[in-house]
């Protein structure tokens, strides 16, 4: 029976359209529409910087090393002017009419005993967008966050240092964009891809609707056959859920692969966590779909038509199409962010990609799983009966 359930699930054409083709088309659209923007931003002009160190010590040394690393390569983020030793020297090099162009610096870092201060040339600041400033901010923040790793490595494992510095510099590149209210700094472009993947998962709610109608005798003809058979409902429901989870998860995995390898969107390489996200997320949407179907009457079509609007609303409120949506809701009605499964999944996916500490991700997964179980149990109770007042 399971193999037939799987066949049914795999051959469901509607499902491919909404859960795969539609999100895939959106991704392509985003790529065409926004990729130019993205390229522009990544190619910001290198920022000319100096480093002034108060205190001779490891912090200063490794910071200079990091800055040097970021100044190498074909398209460096920084140009390091290395002969500046004092604040006075540095400020003298800030742009004014008298300075020779190649001696100008845009900003300098002032490294004190345990902190790094950024001082930016007024003229430079006025002429640029915020992105440039954010890059410097990110650079120091990331460096300070990870400095302890370098510091420890210096005693235990000095040969690790170059790779740590390397990693630091690659971390910085991705965060050179608009910073905002989000917990992690969110790249607008990447955001669209993450939310689109989550949208595809949300659209699997229709599988849940079909599940309900295929076992409720008052909703479909085939369900009548199931109801008059000696087979226990719960085993049929379980078999159908698992059978449908397989193609749903496969489709989501394919969307992930496309986003990562075709569209070049950053993704964690922790396969286990991605798998967890995919399976729990899809189990949730199936359970959620069954639950919504439960609240309605009629055939698969009737139930699904009414649900589409609701699901679309959730997806829209989660920031698909307009990435500031969750920020707006956070200000005006934060509860909507807290209970919208699409939003929770979006942020979980971001945490998974960017957060150093995954505890928020696991909390989100736990929430989704608990909700999925609750919805599934309610729907199972609703589907369990096999005698109806009206057919």
């Amino acid at each position: 029976m399971f193999s037939k359930s799987l066949l049914k699930a795999v051959r469901n054409k509607q499902f491919y359209f909404w859960s795969f083709l539609f999100p895939f088309a959106l991704m392509c659209l985003f790529r065409v529409a926004f990729a130019g923007l993205y390229d522009q931003e990544i190619c910001i002009d290198p920022i000319k910087v100096a480093v002034v160190v108060d205190d001779e010590g490891m912090l200063g040394d490794y910071f200079i090393e990091t800055v040097e690393a970021l100044s190498e390569g074909d398209e460096p983020l920084l140009i390091y002017v290395d002969d500046v030793k004092t604040i006075e020297e540095a400020e003298a090099l800030f742009a004014d009419e008298t300075t020779v162009d190649d001696q100008v610096i845009n900003a300098y870092f002032h490294v004190t005993e345990d902190d790094i201060e950024i001082v930016v040339d007024k003229a430079f600041y006025a002429g640029r967008d915020e992105a440039h400033i954010v890059v410097l901010r990110q650079l120091t923040d990331t460096f300070l966050n990870q400095y302890h790793l370098i510091y420890e490595a210096a005693f235990t494992n000095p040969e690790m240092i170059p790779s740590l510095v390397e990693e630091l510099s690659s971390d910085i590149e991705y965060t050179a964009y608009e910073s905002n209210v989000y917990k992690n700094d969110i790249d607008t472009y990447d955001w669209y891809f993450y939310t689109t993947i989550v949208m595809g998962m949300m659209f699997n709610f229709q599988v849940g609707i079909e599940l309900v109608t295929s076992v409720r005798a008052d909703a479909s003809e085939v369900a009548k056959r199931i109801n008059i058979s000696p087979k226990r409902k719960i085993s049929i429901v379980a078999s159908e859920v698992i059978a449908n989870l397989i193609p749903c998860s496969a489709i989501t995995a394919i969307l992930f692969l496309i986003a990562k390898y075709v569209m070049g969107i950053p993704m964690t390489s922790e396969v286990g966590n991605i798998a967890l996200f995919i399976v729990i997320g899809n189990f949730f949407t199936i359970a959620f779909g069954s639950f919504i179907a439960m609240l309605q009457k009629g055939s698969t079509k009737d139930r699904s038509n009414k649900s589409w609007g609701f699901i679309m609303l959730l997806v829209f409120l989660s920031g698909e199409m307009y990435n500031q949506m969750p920020a707006i809701l956070e200000k005006n009605a934060p509860i909507l962010n807290d209970i919208n499964p699409a939003t929770i999944m979006n942020f979980a996916l971001f945490d998974l990609t960017y957060a150093k500490d995954l505890s928020d991700f696991y909390v989100a997964m736990a929430k989704i799983l608990v909700a999925a179980i609750v919805f599934m149990v309610l729907s199972a109770v609703y589907m369990r009966r096999n005698s109806y007042a009206s057919l």
């Binding site: 029976m1 037939k4 469901n12 085939v222 009548k224 056959r225 008059i228 096999n386 005698s387 057919l391």
Partner: protein, 313 residues
């Protein structure tokens, strides 16, 4: 023959509409039992209540000596149903559909494969076994619907108007198949609004109207319930009115008249054609043609309810 299904005082209401009004049925093991009634008379409702698919407001259904409930899994495992509407998965092929539904009853793979093969053979859709239902013609779809209901070799099979919208050839095949299933030991419950089918198939029947049984019994028993009689029509030339009078004097004969060259005799009983024939021959007439019309179930229905069983045409 023992009683296999007993329906007592079954009442089913849809709000104000009483779909089944104290319905009583007794179905014997091994028979083909007919449920005849016009559209909306409650045939499908009766079946769905018997199957415990529908909740009902009163009465009791006993199958194989046990009360039928939604949880009577042991009874359910012995029942097969061919529902009125197509009930198959569009995503699965003919064979996969039959296999899926058979799988709800039969766990063992080898047995199931054999049963599925037999069902495909039985309804004659071998060459379409890898088609999806959408690609099948109406008649083939019906046959698939039947195969899905009978593949697990049930002891009791419900057929709910399985021949609706089927051409005469397919219909005959279906009817033959049903008789064969019966010969192999299945008890059949067959609903229809075609009295011809019921007459052809059923050993006993109940006639349903507005959720009530208006007549029950074997076909001759039911026909005997009404006053309508056999009509013998003969063609003879130059019949003497005295012969007609002789006929009228017979106890069984109700009316007799002669017009043109046609003699029409209405008489109670069954073998009046012999009576008329022998009288005419004795008087020396040459009978060109003679036939008799038995009352039909439609006449029964007409007499009991004052309306036609179905619109002719």
């Amino acid at each position: 023959m023992s009683e296999i299904i007993k329906v007592e005082n079954l009442v089913k209401r849809y709000k104000e509409l009483i779909a089944l009004d104290h319905l009583n049925l007794n179905i014997m093991e091994g028979e083909v039992f007919g449920l005849l009634g016009p559209n909306g008379s409650g045939k499908s409702t009766a079946i769905n209540c018997m199957l415990s698919l529908l909740q009902y407001d009163g009465g009791e259904v006993t199958i194989m000596g046990k009360k039928m409930t939604p949880a009577s899994y042991d009874i359910k495992s012995k029942i097969g149903v061919v529902p009125q509407d197509m009930a198959v998965y569009e995503e699965l092929t003919v064979r996969e559909n039959i296999d899926f539904f058979c799988g709800l009853y039969i766990k063992d793979k080898a047995t199931r494969k054999q049963y599925v093969d037999e069902a495909i053979e039985f309804v004659g859709i071998k060459e379409f076994e890898n088609f999806r239902p959408k690609k099948l013609s109406g008649g083939l779809k019906r046959r698939l619907n039947i195969a899905c209901g009978i593949a697990h070799k049930p002891k009791i099979i419900f057929f709910d108007e399985p021949t609706v919208a089927v051409d005469p050839q397919s219909r005959n095949k279906i009817l033959e198949g049903i008789l064969e299933l019966n010969k192999n030991g299945a008890t059949i419950i067959y609903t229809s609004h075609y009295m011809e089918e019921i007459e052809q198939l059923c050993t006993r029947l109940s006639i349903l109207d507005k959720g009530q049984v208006i007549a029950s019994g074997t076909i001759p028993e039911i026909k005997r319930m009404i006053k309508k009689n056999e009509i013998v029509t003969a063609e003879v030339i130059g019949l003497d009115p005295k012969v007609v009078d002789t006929l009228k004097m017979d106890n069984d004969v109700l009316t007799a008249n002669y017009q043109g060259k046609t003699l029409k005799v209405e008489a109670a009983g069954k073998s009046n054609i012999v009576k008329v024939m022998s009288l005419l021959e004795k008087e020396g007439y040459e009978v060109q043609q003679i036939y008799s019309v038995q009352p039909s179930l439609n006449d029964v229905f007409l007499e009991l309810t004052g309306k036609q069983l179905r619109d002719e045409g």
